[in-house]
Symmetry: C2
Subunit: 489 residues, 2 copies
C-alpha cells in the first residue's frame, strides 16, 4: 500500500495480503462501552479482542464521577430504599423529553424497561453500591452514598410531565471520581474472562469489501500496521470527538465557548469517521454537553440568573448543564447569578468566581453591571414578591428553592463566557439500532459493524436535556447490546 491508512477510507478486503490477528469480535476502545461490549460478547461464546490506543483501559469513563442513570420498573434497590417509586413510563417520559426533538423512542424504551436488570448486571460484574440516598443538589457524591438527583427530574417542565425520582447511581467510594472504580472493576472482570487486549494500539482503518461489509480492521501495534480479521464483527467503542479540534470546528463549533474537554484525552472521533467511511450515517453532530456548574453549594440554587437585559431566562433548579445551555443563548453570552447574603457561598468547582458586582441595594448592583436602569430591580422585586408566596409564575422554579433576595449585601456572580471556563463533550455520533448495528442513511444495517458509547448517537443526544449519568448508563447498557449482537452474528 502506498497510500497511508485513513479512518475515512476502508482498506479493501481484496488488498489484504495476510491476517496478523484473527478473532471473532474486535472491540475498538477499552472505556466503559468497550469493556461492557467485550464482556457480553465473551459471555455469549465469542473470542474477543480489544484494541485500546492508550496504555491502559479506562477511557473517559475512568475520569468521570461514576454516576449511572438508572430507574423505572418500580425502582432500583436504592430508589426503593429511599421511598421513591419509579414507574417505567415516568422514566420513559423523562428520557424522551431529555432526548429533545430527535429522541429515539425504541432506544429509550429498551433502556427504561431494562435499567433495573442492568443495575443487577453491574453488581454481578463486581460494582459495589451502598444503595443509600443523598438528598440535595450535587454534581456527584463526595460521600460513599449511591443515589442523587442528577438531572432536571424535579424541575419544570420535566416534573409536570413525568413523576420525578432521583436516578443518579454512583458506586460506593468516598470522594469524587468513582468512574475510576467502575473501570478498574470492569477491566478486572474482562481480564478474568480471558478477553485479549492490546494497549497502545491505534485503529487506523476498517477493512471492508467493496459492498462495505466489514471484515476487520488495521491496527498499529509496535509501530507496525497489523491486519486484524474479525469474523463476527467490529464494535466501535472509541468515544466521541471533543479532543479533535478540526471535527469540533466543523460539527459542533458552538461548544468552543466551553473549551475544557470532558475526556480522557482520546475522544478523537476516529471511530465515528471509520463508521462513516463504510456508509454509516451520523446524527446530532451539533449537540454537546456543556457546563459551567454553579452548585454545590445548594444555597446558590436559590439565586436567580439574569442576562445583560436584566431578564431571568431559566428556572435555576434545572440541571446545571441545562442551565448552561440557556446561558449560551443570552445576548453576548453574558449572565450573572444574583444572590443575597444568606445564599452566598463560593461555588465548589470554581471558588475564585468573579464577583461582578456587590451592593447594599439592587439598584447599586444593577448600575455596576451596566444593566438598563430599572430592569434588574424590576426582575428582583417581582421575583421576591412571588417567592414570598412560594410561587414563580415566570419560570416555575420549585418552591423548595424560592426565597426572596432581601438580605443585603447583594452580589452578582459572573457566569458568562468571558468569565467562566466551561467544559463540554460531544453527543453526536453514528446512527445505530438499539442492538448496536450501524445504519446507513437508508436505515440499512452495515454487515459486521457495531457502535456504542459516544461513538454512537445514544440516549444522551441533546445538550439541553442531558443529565449526569446518562452517558455511562447508555455506554454500558448499549455496549452490552452491541457485544451480544456481534457475538451472535
Amino acid at each position: 500500500m502506498s497510500k497511508p491508512y485513513s479512518p475515512s477510507r476502508p482498506l479493501r478486503l481484496s488488498d489484504v495480503e495476510r491476517w496478523d490477528i484473527e478473532t471473532d469480535v474486535a472491540v475498538i476502545g477499552f472505556g466503559i462501552s468497550g469493556a461492557c461490549a467485550a464482556i457480553e460478547a465473551k459471555n455469549a461464546g465469542a473470542q474477543v479482542t480489544i484494541f485500546e490506543v492508550a496504555a491502559a483501559s479506562g477511557g473517559s469513563a475512568a475520569l468521570s464521577g461514576g454516576d449511572i442513570y438508572l430507574g423505572g420498573n418500580g425502582g432500583t434497590p436504592a430508589q426503593k430504599a429511599a421511598g421513591f417509586e419509579d414507574q417505567t413510563e415516568d422514566f420513559v417520559k423523562y428520557l424522551m423529553m431529555a432526548g429533545g426533538p430527535g429522541a429515539d423512542e425504541a432506544r429509550v424504551r429498551l433502556y427504561a424497561e431494562n435499567a433495573v436488570a442492568h443495575y443487577h448486571w453491574l453488581v454481578e460484574q463486581g460494582l459495589p453500591f451502598k444503595n443509600s440516598y443523598l438528598p440535595g443538589k450535587w454534581l456527584e457524591p463526595t460521600t460513599d452514598d449511591t443515589l442523587i438527583w442528577s438531572g432536571s427530574e424535579a424541575a419544570w417542565p420535566f416534573a409536570q410531565q413525568a413523576k420525578p425520582a432521583p436516578r443518579g447511581h454512583t458506586p460506593q467510594m468516598k470522594g469524587w471520581g468513582a468512574g475510576k472504580l467502575i473501570m478498574e472493576t470492569l477491566t478486572a472482570k474482562a481480564h478474568s474472562l480471558g478477553i485479549e487486549s492490546h494497549f497502545s494500539s491505534r485503529a487506523l482503518a476498517l477493512i471492508a469489501d467493496q459492498d462495505n461489509r466489514v471484515h476487520g480492521l488495521v491496527v498499529r501495534i509496535d509501530g507496525e500496521p497489523r491486519m486484524v480479521r474479525a469474523r463476527k464483527g467490529v464494535i466501535l467503542c472509541s468515544g466521541g470527538f471533543i479532543c479533535n479540534e478540526e471535527m469540533v470546528k466543523r460539527y459542533v463549533p458552538a461548544s468552543r465557548v466551553c473549551p475544557n474537554p470532558t475526556s480522557g484525552g482520546n475522544d478523537d472521533g476516529s471511530g465515528i469517521r471509520m463508521g462513516m467511511s463504510v456508509g454509516g450515517d451520523v446524527l446530532n453532530m451539533d449537540q454537546f454537553f456543556a457546563t459551567r456548574p454553579f452548585y454545590p453549594p445548594e444555597s446558590l440554587v436559590k439565586g436567580i440568573f439574569v442576562n445583560e437585559l436584566g431578564q431571568r431566562f431559566i428556572n435555576e433548579d434545572a440541571y446545571h448543564g441545562r442551565v448552561t445551555h440557556y446561558m449560551l443563548r443570552q445576548p453576548n453570552d453574558r449572565c450573572w447569578l444574583l444572590v443575597d447574603s444568606t445564599m452566598f457561598e463560593r461555588p465548589v468547582t470554581y471558588p475564585d468566581i468573579t464577583v461582578a458586582a456587590v451592593g447594599e441595594t439592587w439598584e447599586e448592583v444593577e448600575q455596576e453591571l451596566g444593566i438598563p436602569a430599572g430592569e434588574l430591580v424590576h426582575t428582583v422585586e417581582r421575583f421576591n414578591r412571588h417567592a414570598e408566596q412560594g410561587e414563580d409564575p415566570l419560570w416555575h422554579k420549585d418552591a423548595e428553592y424560592l426565597q426572596p433576595l432581601i438580605e443585603a449585601p447583594f452580589a452578582a456572580l459572573a457566569y458568562g463566557g468571558k468569565d467562566y471556563i466551561g467544559t463540554s463533550f460531544t453527543l453526536g455520533g453514528l446512527s445505530t439500532l438499539p442492538n448496536g448495528q450501524v445504519l446507513t442513511p437508508e436505515g440499512e444495517a452495515i454487515p459486521g459493524l457495531y457502535a456504542a458509547g459516544r461513538c454512537a448517537c445514544g440516549i444522551p443526544r441533546w445538550g439541553e436535556g442531558y443529565s449526569s449519568g446518562m452517558s455511562l448508563g447508555d455506554s454500558s447498557f448499549f455496549g452490552r447490546q452491541a457485544g451480544r449482537q456481534a457475538a451472535g452474528a
Copy 2:
C-alpha cells in the same frame, strides 16, 4: 444486480456491464445550481448532461421570490445607483456573522470578492435587472424594482459590526415569484448552448470504484436503469432534504414546528445521501431556514414581540427568519406581536392571523393572554419610555422603528407554533471546497464528485443568520465553480 439501487450504496464500477450514456460532466438536478454548473462546464469545453427528476427544469428556485444576495466591491450597479457604497470587507463581516459559529471564511471571501462579477455574469445569461431601489421592509418586491433590504443588515448586532447595505437583488418582473423568470432564462441559455437534458429521470445511485472514485451514476429513464459514464465527474445539484420526512425527523427534527416545506417538491436529500455513500462528509444537518413572516406591512415592525412571560426576546427589525428562530426558543413556543392602533394592519402573508387579545389598556391584553400580572405592562411601559427618547437599551432596535405603543385599542397577534403554520427548508449538506469538490471527514477531495446548492453546506448554513437571497446567490455562484472545476478535471 439482484439488489435494488440505493442512493446510500454506490454501484461498483466492476459491476457495470455497459454504458448506456456517456458524457464528460453529469449534473444531477436542473434547478439553479444545476443550471449554472452546466452552463459553466459547457462554456469550459465539456460535454454536459443534466438529469432532472421532474418533468421540467426549475427546482425550488423556480418557486422562489428570485432574490439574489449580492454586494461588496464598492457596490453593485443597483447599490451604487441608490447611493449605497458596499465594501467587500463589510460584506465579508456580515456573511461571517450570518454563517454562525461554523461560518466558512474561504467560501465567504470567494463569494464576497466575486459577487459583483457574478451579477454581471447573470446579466450576460439574460437576466434583466432594473437596478432601482425599493426602501422599506419586504419579503420580496411586488414592484419590478431590484434592490431591497433582504436580511438583518441594518439591525443589531449586524449593523454595529458591518456597515449596512441592502443586498437583495431581484430580476425585473412585476409581482412575486421572480424565481420563475430566473429559471426560464437559465434554462433557455442552457438549451441554447447545446446542453443535453433528461427530464423525469431519477438518479438512483453513484457508480464508483472500490476506492470511492466516482465514474458516473445510475439513472432511471423510462422506467429502466441506465448506466451513465461521466468522464470528468458528477455534480450533485439535487437540492436539500426538507421533503424527506425520514431525513427531517432524523437530522433536523426541530424544523417540524414550521411544517410547510419551501420547496419545489423534490428536495428529497438523495444527492446528499449519494455523496455520503462514497465517504462524503455532511455539515450543519441540524440547521434550517424557518419563517413565520410578520412583515410587510412595515408598520408591524414597530410592534414588539413578547413571550408568555411578558418578556421581549429580539429586536423586531431583524430579518423575519431570524426573528422566527428566536420565537422557536421561547417557552412552549408561545409569543405575540403587540401593536397599537396606529401600527395594526393585517400581515400580507397571513391576513387571517389570530388576534389573541384586544384591549383598551395593556392590563387587559396582559390578562387576556394569561401573562403573569404586571409583566407585560412593565415591558410595554419600559419600551414606551425608551422609545420616546428614540432608544431601545434592551434589544437595540433601530430608531426608525421605535414608536411608543400608546394609541388604544391595543392588540396581540399570535405567532406561536399552535397559531401560525411556518415554513422551512434545510441548510445542511455535503462538505465541499469552494470549488465544489466533495470532502471526506479527513478533508480529502473525493475524485469525480462535486456538489452545489442545498446539496452542499454553503454560505447559508445557520438559521439565525439566513437572509433572503443567500440560497439563490450561493447556489448560482457555487454551481458555477463546481461546473468549471469538473470541466477542468
